[in-house]
Structures are given as structure tokens and as C-alpha cells.
């Protein structure tokens, strides 16, 4: 009996002394944390995608408490910006809608696919692209092993039947992770302007004339027909590829009509449910 009492007393005493010390220490050593941090984190989606440019949602939350703009969250969109602005009492600002786009449309018989057939290395665009090989075809187009697809945390990228990566605008939140993966730098982030649908050149092929045509049926030839007809003068040809400045594009689609190869395509943003 006595030993039971002693046991309970001893362990109880150690626990009690320890807890008293800890209570005092937690008061004395408490770190001043902004109590709004938890609220801000609750509004953010918690995807830690990095589209805001900060290390994770917590990094962005701390930056906002220090005065960073509240409209940088891609997945949260306008509704998150609105709630954050109410919470923090700052102006919400306009949320920039971004999406990724793969600037290649490819064909089922493009040369890179024939060359891939004799390649026995790892199933990866980045590894394939580091192999030195001569090619008669387009060396700027989509390789089609889907490294970007594996990178996308949201599953927004898929390969179509031509083995070309395609971004689903309804799923893409514009985090930009895929843009750094593509060894051919085909993927870029585009920001929505006032227009809902703009024209976009789905090609990076720097070859010209017959060689370009032989390598891929959907190539931009660099013929400058679109440059001449564009009423906004927002198209220029660099390295035999047309580039459209989509911040100026009004979506008149005149360029699509004159393109002999059909390399220009409409680019749209899908308004996501808030």
C-alpha cells in the first residue's frame, strides 16, 4: 500500500513540477504571433503551389500580414482575394487570371515521333532532349513523353492522340510549375486581358519553307501574312515564328483566316466557379 502511494506521489510530483515550470515558461517565452495568421491560412486553399511567388501558403500569409498584395493567389482566385481584403482591410485589387499554354499542336506523323521509335532511353522529355541526335524534323516541338503532365499537381495537362501535351484551361490555375519543366520551353503562362478569347500561335518551329512543312503539318512558316493583316499590329516574327502580343490582341481572328497552315488558334480562359 505504502509503495503505491509513494509511486503515485513521486510520479505525480515530477509531473506537477514539470508542468508548473512549462506553464511559466510558455508565458515567459511566448512568441508574439499575429492572431490573424490562422484566419488568413484558413482562406488560402492550402495547395502550397507557389503561384503567388511565396514559399507555400504560410509564406504568402505572412507576407500579406506584412503588407503584400492579397490578389496573388491563383487557385483562390477572386473570391479568396475578396475575403482576404475584407479580413485585412485592404483593397482587393484585380486578380490576374493566368493559365499555361503549350505552344505546339503537333501532328500524329511528326518527325520527332518517328525518331522516338528508335530511342530506347528513359521515358522522359528532359532526358530525351539531352541526347545529342541529328534530326530532319522540328527540334522545337512537343516531344510527348509528358514530363509536364507528371509535374502538374492538379492534373490539368494531358497528352492528346498526337502525343502532344494539352492544358485544360478549366483545371489549370496558373501556378507555372510546368513552364520550367519543358526542355523545349514550349509552355508559358499567359495573363488574361480584357478580351475573353485571343489568338495564339501554337508553334515554335524555327525551320522555314519546305523543311518546316515536311517536319509538321501544323507549323508556322514565318510567312508574315498575319503580321500584315493584324489591325492592332501586335504580331511580330522572330526566328521564323510569329508571336502575338496577347495583351494587345482584341480577338478579331483576322490572322487565323489568313494563316496558310492553320498555326494560329483561339486561346480562351474558362471562368472557374468561385
Amino acid at each position: 500500500m505504502n509503495s503505491i502511494v509513494l509511486t503515485i506521489a513521486l510520479v505525480g510530483c515530477i509531473g506537477l513540477v514539470g508542468s508548473v515550470i512549462l506553464v511559466f515558461a510558455s508565458k515567459k517565452l511566448a512568441v508574439q504571433e499575429d492572431e490573424r495568421l490562422a484566419d488568413v491560412l484558413a482562406i488560402l486553399p492550402g495547395a502550397n503551389c507557389g503561384s503567388c511567388g511565396y514559399p507555400g501558403c504560410e509564406g504568402y500569409a505572412k507576407a500579406m500580414l506584412a503588407g503584400a498584395p492579397v490578389n496573388s493567389c491563383g487557385p483562390g482566385g477572386a473570391s479568396a482575394a475578396q475575403r482576404l481584403s475584407e479580413l485585412l482591410g485592404v483593397d482587393a485589387g484585380d486578380v490576374v487570371v493566368k493559365r499555361a499554354i503549350v505552344a505546339c499542336r503537333g501532328t500524329a506523323d511528326r518527325v520527332v515521333l518517328q525518331e522516338r521509335a528508335v530511342y530506347h532511353g528513359a521515358h522522359s522529355c528532359r532526358i530525351y532532349a539531352t541526347m545529342g541526335h541529328l534530326s530532319d524534323g522540328c527540334t522545337d516541338g512537343c516531344i510527348g513523353y509528358g514530363d509536364c503532365m507528371a509535374t502538374c499537381p492538379y492534373g490539368a495537362i494531358s497528352l492528346n492522340k498526337n502525343h502532344v501535351a494539352v492544358v485544360d484551361p478549366a483545371v489549370c490555375i496558373g501556378c507555372g510549375l510546368c513552364t520550367t519543366i519543358c526542355p523545349r520551353h514550349l509552355i508559358s503562362l499567359v495573363e488574361k486581358s480584357d478580351v475573353d478569347e485571343v489568338s495564339f500561335v501554337l508553334c515554335h518551329n524555327t525551320l522555314t519553307g519546305k523543311r518546316a512543312k515536311d517536319s509538321c503539318a501544323n507549323t508556322c512558316l514565318g510567312c508574315r501574312k498575319c503580321v500584315k493583316v493584324c489591325p492592332q499590329h501586335c504580331i511580330e516574327v522572330v526566328d521564323n515564328v510569329a508571336h502575338i502580343d496577347i495583351s494587345k490582341c482584341v480577338g478579331c481572328k483576322v490572322c487565323m483566316g489568313v494563316c496558310p497552315e492553320g498555326a494560329i488558334y483561339p486561346l480562351s480562359w474558362v471562368s472557374k466557379p468561385a
Binding site: L10, V11, I14, L22, A30, V31
Partner: protein, 196 residues
């Protein structure tokens, strides 16, 4: 004096807790990637070890007097957990970057077998109170030494770009084994130095 020096150095080199007794391997492998966090972890563990012995040694005398030796483990764990919690609070307050870099390994000192091991082993050795404190300091410094040496080893190994199959944990475990073997060379050194 020679006796204390003998205990201190034998704890650091001959009976090194990590590399000879293989206690506390979890933080040894987990936090040794960067030199700064390795040093921070080393000092944190040293502090916890010395404080833990300072508290547990008197408690052990109490346990012996009352015939409650079987309470040793739970009583010691209780003390160590309190100390680690205290250390974590203090570190969060005064050294936030180190707190962030040690991450989950800081609260894990609670269950670090090296800390519980040093408290129990010093009592098994029959050390007096000052001897036990010196042994705790030696064990902590030995842990620090192992962490620092191994963070250097790991940096070299990573720069050497091992084959892909060995990258990460495999090559780390192999180099840990070789580092541990090198410490076998210290056995007997202390006996000859201090004639104990």
C-alpha cells in the same frame, strides 16, 4: 581531476554515443545534412543531456531509497520530455532560424535514446553526482562531434555525385558505417593516456 578528464574523453571518443554505442541515430542521420543545423542539434542535445542528468540523478537516489527502481524509465522520460519542451520554447523565442531548421527533430529529442541512454548508463556505472554530470557533458560533446564530422562527410559525399542507386540514404548509411569504424580506433587510447 584526471578521473574527470578520463570520463569526459572516454565519453567523447571511446564510448561515443552515436558512433560506438549506436544510440541517437535518428537525429544523426536526419539533421546532419547541413553544418549549421548539425551544430545546433549537437548543442541542443548536449544541453538536454546535462540538464537531464542534473535532474534524474537525484531522482534515482530517491527511487533507490524508496525501493521504486522500476519507475526509472517513466520518471526519466517525464523529466526529459519537460526539458525538451522547455528547450523548444526557449529556442523558438531566441533562435527562430535554428528552430525552423531543426524542425521535427527538436521535439524528437524527447524520444532520443541517446538522452535516456546517458541518464541510465551513468547510473549503471555507479558515478557520483559530479562524475555523472561530466559524463553527460562528454556524451553530449561526443554527439556534437559525431554530428559535425558527419555533416562534413555528407557534404563531401554529395559533391562526389555517387551513382544514382546509392544517392541519398544508402550512401549516407554506408558512410556512417565507415565513420563508425574509424572511431573503433580510439578504443584503449584513454586507458593509456590517463592510466585509469
Amino acid at each position: 581531476m584526471a578521473q574527470y578528464a578520463s570520463i569526459l574523453f572516454s565519453m567523447i571518443l571511446v564510448n561515443n554515443f552515436v558512433l560506438v554505442k549506436f544510440l541517437g541515430i535518428c537525429p544523426f542521420l536526419g539533421v546532419s545534412k547541413k553544418f549549421d543545423s548539425a551544430v545546433g542539434m549537437g548543442f541542443a542535445v548536449t544541453l538536454v543531456m546535462v540538464l537531464a542528468i542534473a535532474v534524474t540523478w537525484p531522482i534515482q537516489q530517491l527511487l533507490d531509497a524508496w525501493g521504486l527502481e522500476y519507475l526509472q524509465t517513466i520518471a526519466f522520460i517525464l523529466v526529459i520530455a519537460t526539458l525538451v519542451q522547455l528547450l523548444e520554447m526557449a529556442m523558438k523565442r531566441y533562435l527562430p532560424p535554428l528552430h525552423a531548421s531543426l524542425g521535427v527533430f527538436l521535439p524528437l529529442i524527447t524520444t532520443n535514446c541517446a538522452v535516456l541512454g546517458v541518464t541510465i548508463l551513468t547510473i549503471d556505472e555507479g558515478y557520483t553526482y559530479p562524475q555523472a554530470l561530466v559524463a553527460g557533458l562528454g556524451a553530449g560533446l561526443g554527439f556534437l562531434l559525431a554530428m559535425v564530422i558527419f555533416s562534413g562527410v555528407r557534404r563531401r559525399v554529395e559533391e562526389a555525385e555517387p551513382p544514382e542507386v546509392f544517392q541519398g540514404m544508402p550512401i549516407t548509411l554506408i558512410s556512417a558505417a565507415i565513420t563508425a569504424m574509424s572511431f573503433m580506433g580510439f578504443s584503449g587510447v584513454i586507458d593509456h593516456l590517463f592510466g585509469a
